[in-house]
Amino acid sequence: MERETKTEGEPGHGPALPYTKALLEHFVNPRNVGELSEEETDGFGLVGDPGCGDQMKLWISVSDERIQKIAFKSFGCPGAIATSSALTTLAEGRTLGEARRITDDDVIQLLGGIPEHKRHCSLLGVRALQAALEDREKRLQQKATRP
């Protein structure tokens, strides 16, 4: 169903892209692209199979139990880039509890839909975020157990 979402009449491209305006906007101007420095990074997530080209890296910087900074890189298809970007905007500034509750449906909703065969991309970002959150927990524990 979502495959029919189109961006008819958009200037600069054909009338029948299978993507929403919002998705295209995130693809063209992805938010929070890049890496955080080692000092900034409180959690890091890496998901996907780099050999398959379906890969995402995500960094978070946390203070006051909130995600203060977030950054991603992705070797990815348009869906992966746009959903990752959208995810970072959803996560930025959120409490850790809120961030844990972000689902791929939230991402898809923000983008106004996504083609059926790209749904798994939206999961990639969410999984990378969860991985980064877990990584933070681990780091904290390690810090705590280190003398």
Binding site: R3, G12, H13, G14, L17, P18, Y19, L24, F27, V28, P30, V33, G34, P50, G51, C52, G53, Q55, M56, K57, F72, K73, S74, F75, G76, C77, P78, A80, I81, P115, E116, H117, K118
Partner: protein
């Protein structure tokens, strides 16, 4: 719009559209009907057949009309396999054929045939020694494409034809990407079976042909009425065939000149690309190729994202590999040439055609450079 996906499909030549419209309006009889409207349709069909035969250099009765290049390939493979089942069970093809051939070989394998898929070298040329070694007295068919649809790399079909002839093995050439594009005569290919498809040469979709040289054993795969000398049943798509004939005629007339023009443009494109975008690789560029095709790897970025980036700039290109239900699969052709899965996914095919002008290519190089630079800032690898 700049269209650089001519290996996927081409727009109708205006003269083809005109010929089809006339046929649809005036010669709508069923060629099998025993009255003047039917006779007229039969004459029109016969003329279309003769035109194709003349343009390609074969006999009119050797032209078997089909609905697509895929059907032509299926007819060649399944048709010979069935006709010669008693003689042997071994079919030789290459690892880089179009899915119309490869998946049909898979299906025949399930029916009990043995298939050899000969590998290619890093330039995408079939290993002719390996092909030769694979032949046995059980081999009933060799099927090799003339030019690969993703890389444009030409295969040594004339040599293979010699091999096949010496052993009396039927030889099928999938010429879907070369018919009407390269100035060749069918006779020179030396194949008993040759596939071509209308929509790759500015003709209509739904119209294609398998050329079946006299004496080639073949069973039909569509049975019913005795159309096409009993080799392909079904009321003929006359307007499509008339369009196909017109398109073949026009394409063959222009082939020599147009292929020189496109070769110049393609070389220009590749030079510009290499100098504008660091780190790219041209696939199969050391081999003999059809003049309109460039296959380029952009390491570290995803082909689909490049395509979308160009699309947003009004430029249509594709990876050239099969995209099943939307999700492009990494090209089996590039993988066979030794590219990693990731590099295969970071590759694009640019295929030029009649409408292509040098300015289009310069704009394309610019847009590609911008898009790739942007994607490289995003990439995780």
């Amino acid at each position: 719009m700049i269209y650089l996906d001519h290996n996927a499909t081409t727009p109708l030549h205006p003269q083809v559209l005109e010929a089809m419209a006339t046929c649809l309006r005036e010669h709508w009889g069923n060629p099998s009907s025993p009255h003047s409207l039917g006779n007229q349709a039969r004459l029109v069909m016969q003329r279309a057949r003769e035109r194709i035969a003349e343009s390609l250099g074969c006999g009119p009765s050797e032209v078997v009309f089909c609905s697509s290049g895929t059907e032509a390939d299926n007819l060649a493979l399944r048709g010979v396999a069935r006709a010669l089942r008693a003689r042997g069970d071994h079919i030789v093809t290459t690892a880089i054929e179009h899915h119309a051939v490869l998946h049909t070989c898979d299906a025949l394998e399930e029916e009990g045939f043995r298939i050899t898929r000969v590998p290619v070298d890093p330039q995408g040329v079939v290993d002719i020694e390996a092909l030769h070694r694979s032949l046995t007295d059980q081999t009933i068919l060799i099927s090799v494409m003339h030019a690969n649809n993703e890389t444009g790399v030409l295969q040594p079909v004339e040599e293979i034809a010699g091999m096949a002839a010496r052993r009396g093995i039927p030889f099928h050439v999938d010429a879907v990407q070369t018919a009407g594009r390269l100035p060749f005569r069918l006779r020179d290919l030396g194949a008993g079976l040759v596939s071509l498809s209308g929509h790759k040469l500015y003709g209509p979709r739904g119209a294609a042909a398998l050329i079946v040289r006299e004496g080639t054993p073949l069973q039909p795969i569509l049975t019913g009425g005795s159309h096409e000398r009993g080799l392909r049943a079904g009321t003929e798509n006359l307007a499509g065939l008339v369009g196909l004939a017109k398109a073949v005629e026009l394409a063959v007339q222009d082939a020599a000149q147009e292929s020189r023009r496109l070769e110049g443009l393609r070389d220009h494109l590749e030079e510009r690309l290499v100098s504008a975008i660091p780190g790219i690789r041209l696939n199969g560029a050391q081999a003999r190729r059809v003049p309109n095709t460039s296959n380029v790897t952009f390491p570290g970025v995803d082909g689909e994202s490049i395509i979308l980036g160009l699309d947003l700039a009004g430029i249509c290109v594709s990876t050239g590999s099969a995209c099943s239900t939307g999700e492009p699969e990494p090209s089996h052709v590039l993988r066979e040439m030794g590219l990693s899965r990731r590099d295969a996914q970071g590759s694009l095919r640019l295929s030029l055609g009649r409408s292509t002008r040098q300015e289009d290519l310069d704009l394309t190089v610019q847009a590609l450079a911008d898009t790739v630079a942007r994607l490289r800032r995003i990439t995780s690898v």
